[in-house]
Symmetry: C2
Subunit: 379 residues, 2 copies
């Protein structure tokens, strides 16, 4: 095992009608709230009105920033921070999926400073942040119980990650009923995303048998209930299983005893999202099989162990890759860019963006000489 520090101060509120204490929780942080959300699905579902009514009954003043994109951009972060600063807000209420909550983390650190939120992605440290209370409406990224945020800067052609002990949400509210309206494709991408998070831990540095068991537990849960959910999208119980699994997949527990995860697949997947607006989960189901095939000789034992444990039978690395790829396909996820009808002259722009973003992994080192073959495997 590698030495590790475990720290996760998020208060997670999970279950049916759990939002009943949202207003009183926000009130603990003050009377002025910046309400951040996406493109309006929270209005269609009625959630927006319910929350506003709750906040008004608590005497809370609300300003808002909406329109956060599903691959969030720094322009929205900076504009939202201006709204928060001008209204002198006490707390941010982030209602949505990974994009809204990730954006809110950077907004929270940008409100107290004068510079763009992008500075945090290029080395500036956060010394202060407005508290965040999150309401999750999409089970996928695990952002609700970690400090990490991923944001794109199209002007610079970059998609980067940032996290600080200050950017954990203070509270996250998870009612599986709020995910009942998520469409089939994004439900599948969420399932794939949580599985990929577990894989990134698995392929990291550190021989930690118990955290490996946690990885296998979470992935098996997702592999069992994910397909059941996809044929029964209105099933509360299956929504609950997947929402819980997605949170556990990236709250730290899979990383205990490791010095780093790998994250090379995420790093490459971000390029596809940056260039072609590929949904995050879909980018991972495209890159993971390709990445395992390309690096198979370096990590054959680890791939074989993963497949054997997930499918409860002895499998080689090759067999494991095929089984995992087949599972992603069975979810209806793409495993090639062509599956999303993204075609044409893609090699050059992807290669150049990978170079520009220094795509790499924390354990399995990815060099420029790896990029071309990898790209060939996911076209």
């Amino acid at each position: 095992m590698e030495n590790f520090i475990a720290y996760n101060p998020v208060t997670l509120h999970f279950g049916k009608n759990i939002l009943s204490t949202l207003g009183t929780t926000l009130k603990e942080y003050g009377n002025r709230v910046l309400f951040v959300y996406g493109k309006g699905s929270v209005k269609k579902s009625g959630l927006y009105d319910r929350i506003i009514a709750d906040l008004k009954s608590q005497g809370i003043e609300v300003c808002e920033y909406s329109g956060i994109k599903s691959n969030p951009v720094i322009e929205d972060v900076d504009a939202a921070a201006v709204v928060g600063r001008e209204n002198n807000v006490d707390v941010i209420l982030a209602v949505g999926g990974g994009s809204v909550i990730d954006s809110s983390k950077i907004i929270s650190a940008t409100i107290p400073v004068e510079h763009s939120g992008w500075n945090f992605f290029t080395g500036t440290k956060a010394f202060k942040a407005v508290p965040i209370v999150a309401v999750l409406t999409l089970a996928a990224t695990g952002t609700e119980m970690n400090p990490f945020a991923v944001v794109s800067n199209h002007a610079l052609g970059q998609k980067s990650a940032f996290g600080s002990p200050l950017t954990f949400p203070k509270h996250s509210f998870l009612d599986p009923a709020l995910t009942l309206t998520v469409p089939r494709d994004y439900t599948a991408y969420g399932i794939a995303d949580l599985i990929a998070h577990c894989f990134e831990a698995w392929f990291g540095i550190g021989d930690t048998t118990l955290a490996d068991r946690f990885v296998i537990s979470i992935v098996k849960e997702a592999m069992k209930y994910g397909p059941m959910l996809l044929v029964d999208l209105q099933n509360y119980e299956f929504r609950e299983k997947i929402m819980f699994a997605a949170t556990m997949a990236l709250n730290g527990m899979t990383m205990y005893g490791r010095s780093t995860g790998d994250w090379g697949v995420h790093s490459a997947g971000h390029i596809l999202s940056l260039l072609y607006d590929v949904p995050h989960g879909a980018s991972l189901t495209i890159v993971y099989p390709a990445w395992m095939r390309h690096f198979k000789d370096r990590i054959a034992d680890r791939i074989a162990q993963l497949g054997s444990e997930l499918f409860d039978e002895p499998l080689t690395a090759d067999q494991s890759i095929v089984r995992i790829e087949t599972f992603f396909k069975s979810l209806g996820c793409p495993v090639r860019l062509a599956d999303l009808n993204i075609a044409g002259d893609l090699r050059k722009p992807i290669f150049e963006s990978m170079v520009h973003n220094k795509v790499n992994g924390g354990n399995v080192r990815m060099l420029e000489e790896d990029y071309s073959e990898l790209i060939g495997l996911f076209l």
Copy 2:
């Protein structure tokens, strides 16, 4: 699943030479430390001198309270609180196993008030507490990553539990090397204790398949590496596995999706510790098989599922109980009071103390009419 709130703000520092940042961590809380420890094994091992030297180099003033018993008593808690109060300490440094850290939690809440620490066990709430930094020297109770404390009051003939969001340690330092000197019997009791904590979650209320997987993961880890450690007590790697597993067994993750654990076995086990000073882990290996046998008809499916998953083959409830009991015996743990040479007229005092302490479980309700048969099963 049952609704749940997950909250655990402990910063856990795990690994080799992890104590190198102990002094600077304490310094964040102030300059006056109350150093709490047990009966002197920390002096024998040299740990005491190392820590004192570190603290002195940081310019930290140390007062101390030693002699905490392995089944800790309220008199020590109250006396230590006086030392802390008179020296106006900023932080408590708890160095030891469950008894020292549990005691320190109550000391931390007692220092700011005028009453005995026992009041917290009888309904008084804690509104303030001195921060605690813990150094763990025994892998067993999981106290290093939870807010709970169990203390005895012999004057009242009671052994009770208390916990509050204020009584989490701020930081816990876990270096497996510090457990290399734990003797075989207490090593085995620690392994049994961590397994029993998982069982208490398993037999609680709430159908939560993923937390069930966490339970099985932790117990299987302990069942694999526990016996290997017991024949190789100086093996760092096995110490590391067991220390990590013990912390995970009671840091909340096995309880996600449950409204309560059972804790009836702990409740009965505490009586044996109270009356006959039975080590905590040993009390659990005596009571668990008896409790499962007595309540078998009510929870047959759950016992059978537990055994089948732990031993990777389909087992009935009866077979599962025998296998678990046999495993406890293989660790060298007692499964009857007679195994500890505790004999004589035990039925009456145990029965009366169970009545007096209102021994019960959170899920499987235990009534006075259950006590006699149960006692018969663990004599």
